[in-house]
């Protein structure tokens, strides 16, 4: 009997988040060739469903379209997902703030434990996940007969490509939805028109060494020329140089760009945890003893305020 897998799609503003394609890659390792169903819970979410249906490895897209789902409120979504989940052996969501908020609520409604930040599939029921800020890797097994609920560490899986269009089916679930939690607003952060930090090929990041909000401008300029997204260390966010959604690391975003360039970032373990899946790590720091040089593929000891303008000239 093939395993039945349900993936919870993440979407906003009528667009599917790339984390869904990464969850599909994880599903294809759990049950090669079987295909997974994708649930799109939203309001007026036809375009999102069509995007999901076009991904490889999708058996069917299920759509719950109702006004209550217009914003992703975990307390509202969880009972709907739990109602559908009983027909599945696996329910996977992304380990983004959306999935981290939602999936444990689903797991608890189903009275089953959750595998958080699933980073590799060792067998259909054997997985690894990082603990202690990535200082150790835990192997876990979900016993036969227990439903697998997991959040997928998206940086560990490459998004699946496009595939043949899968069927889309509207579904209705009878679950009673609470009204005790209400979405008020989303204040989007510092990304602007730049590429999205979690999906960008190239990422340029600044730390405490950048010194101020105004100084971050030179990083934005370089990023603009390279077509890169801009990230930051926790120190830079705490200091108020940039908004929270630019934080890269253990408690911020875990990313896997092809190129990561760190300027003025010393490299606390919590930061390194967020970047170690990057293809090439470049570090520029004044301090030759900065821990980031221990993991950087290319290191340059130097003043970022001299290095960045020079770099920009060479690229220009």
């Amino acid at each position: 009997m093939t395993a039945k897998i349900l993936i919870i799609a993440e979407h906003a503003g009528g667009r599917l988040n790339q984390s869904t394609a990464r969850c599909l890659a994880c599903a294809s390792q759990i049950s090669p060739g079987a295909g997974a169903d994708v649930l799109v819970a939203g309001s007026q979410c036809g375009a999102v469903a069509a995007e999901a249906a076009a991904l490889a490895g999708v058996a069917e897209v299920l759509v719950i379209d109702r006004a209550e789902n217009s914003a992703p409120v975990a307390a509202v979504l969880a009972p709907q997902i739990a109602a559908l989940a009983t027909a599945y052996d696996y329910v996977l969501g992304p380990s983004t703030t959306f999935g981290k908020d939602l999936m444990p609520r689903v797991a608890a409604l189903l009275r089953v434990g959750q595998v958080s930040d699933l980073m590799s599939v060792e067998g259909p029921r054997r997985f690894t996940r990082p603990v202690y800020a990535g200082n150790a890797i835990q192997s876990v097994e979900v016993p036969e007969g227990t439903r697998v609920i997991a959040t997928v560490r998206t940086a560990s899986f490459r998004p699946v490509a496009a595939g043949a269009a899968a069927p889309i089916r509207g579904v209705q679930v009878g679950a009673a939805l609470p009204t005790h939690t209400r979405f008020i607003e989303l204040r989007s952060g510092g990304g602007g028109e730049r590429p999205d930090l979690q999906t960008a090929r190239l990422v340029i990041s600044g730390g405490r060494g950048v010194g101020s909000e105004a100084n971050f401008r030179i990083l934005y300029q370089l990023a603009g020329k390279m077509g890169a997204a801009v990230g930051a260390s926790r120190a830079a966010v705490d200091a108020g140089f940039v908004p929270n959604d630019m934080q890269v690391g253990q408690t911020g975003k875990i990313i896997a760009p092809e190129l990561y360039m760190a300027f003025g970032i010393s490299g606390a373990i919590q930061h390194l945890t967020g970047i170690k899946d990057a293809g090439l790590i470049v570090a520029v720091n004044k301090d030759p003893e900065a821990p980031i040089f221990q993991i950087a593929d290319i290191g340059l000891v130097g003043d970022l305020f001299q290095v960045i303008p020079e770099l920009e000239k060479r690229i220009g």
Binding site: A136, I184, G299
Partner: protein, 277 residues
């Protein structure tokens, strides 16, 4: 004055009376904060040679930093008159009393230890916390968004699900308004604001506040505050694990790369790797 002070000791009258003067006059009776004892933030964790866990012998143990932020937030709400009492609870071995005493020294009014000798999964912890919630009837439960040992990020959400109450995770701002809270959440897209009816569960992110330092006289005072001990088995919650941990391994190391001397060399290296066009 329409404030119910039933069940409170005279010790709690002060904050209760102040609470009556705050905002619309309604204030919370109780905030419950859940603490976890974890390997201290500054310890460099190593995996044991036999892969059965990480080295914890002789290692400094502390309150999980996110939980410390949770307690700080509860104390600030009480101090500005928004709550009468702050109760700290933890689940774990007898040694966890140290962390509860630290919580009491920070300013919590009383503590509860649910004693249990072995590690529990977040779902079991949430089940035990639900039993405490049913016993204590807090208006608000604040917990760290994750513990820095297992990094699960589950317990708060699971408690909210079992309790059938709102959850506001990854909070960077918490405002109490009568019987509702307004929470600013750190999400991938920026800052999300939600409103929830009390009682509710809030999980804290790093930028919610900076916890206070404990002063020596407070440590002395904390020794006199009540600390109740309950046996986990006596609460009637399901403690069986759903997952099986088969081992731990050190993470794959990234090789240290090469240092370059100047920007020219850096640009050359990047071009060689196919970047910069």
């Amino acid at each position: 004055m329409a404030v119910d002070v039933g069940g409170l000791s005279p010790y709690d009258w002060g904050p209760t009376i102040r609470a009556a003067c705050f905002g619309c006059g309604k204030s919370m009776k109780k905030i419950m904060v859940c603490l976890k004892r974890v390997v201290d933030y500054n310890v460099r964790v190593r995996v044991k040679a036999d892969g059965t866990g990480v080295v914890t012998d002789g290692v400094k143990m502390s309150i999980n930093p996110f939980d410390e932020i949770a307690l700080e937030e509860a104390l600030r709400i009480r101090e500005r008159g928004g709550a009468a009492e702050v109760v700290v609870v933890t689940i774990g071995p007898a040694d966890c009393q140290q962390q509860l005493r630290t919580g009491l020294a920070m300013g919590a009014d009383r503590a509860i230890l649910v004693e249990h000798g072995t590690e529990l999964e977040p779902l079991a912890v949430a089940g035990l916390l639900l039993k405490l919630v049913e016993k204590e009837h807090p208006d608000l439960v604040i917990v760290g968004k994750q513990a820095i040992d297992d990094d699960c990020n589950q317990t708060g959400q699971m408690l909210a699900a079992l309790w059938d109450r709102p959850q506001a995770t990854f909070a960077s701002k918490l405002e109490v308004d009568g019987d509702r809270i307004r929470v600013t959440r750190e999400v991938d897209a920026g800052l999300e604001v939600i409103e929830a009816d009390l009682p509710a569960v809030v999980t804290t992110d790093l930028r919610l506040n900076e916890p206070r330092y404990v002063k020596l006289p407070d440590i002395m005072k904390a020794k006199k505050k009540p600390l109740e001990i309950l046996a986990a088995g006596s609460l009637g919650a399901a403690l069986e694990p759903s997952l099986r941990t088969t081992g731990y391994a050190p993470p794959p190391e990234r090789q240290k790369g090469a240092m370059v001397a100047d920007v020219d060399a850096l640009v050359g290296a990047l071009r060689d790797k196919g970047f910069l066009g």
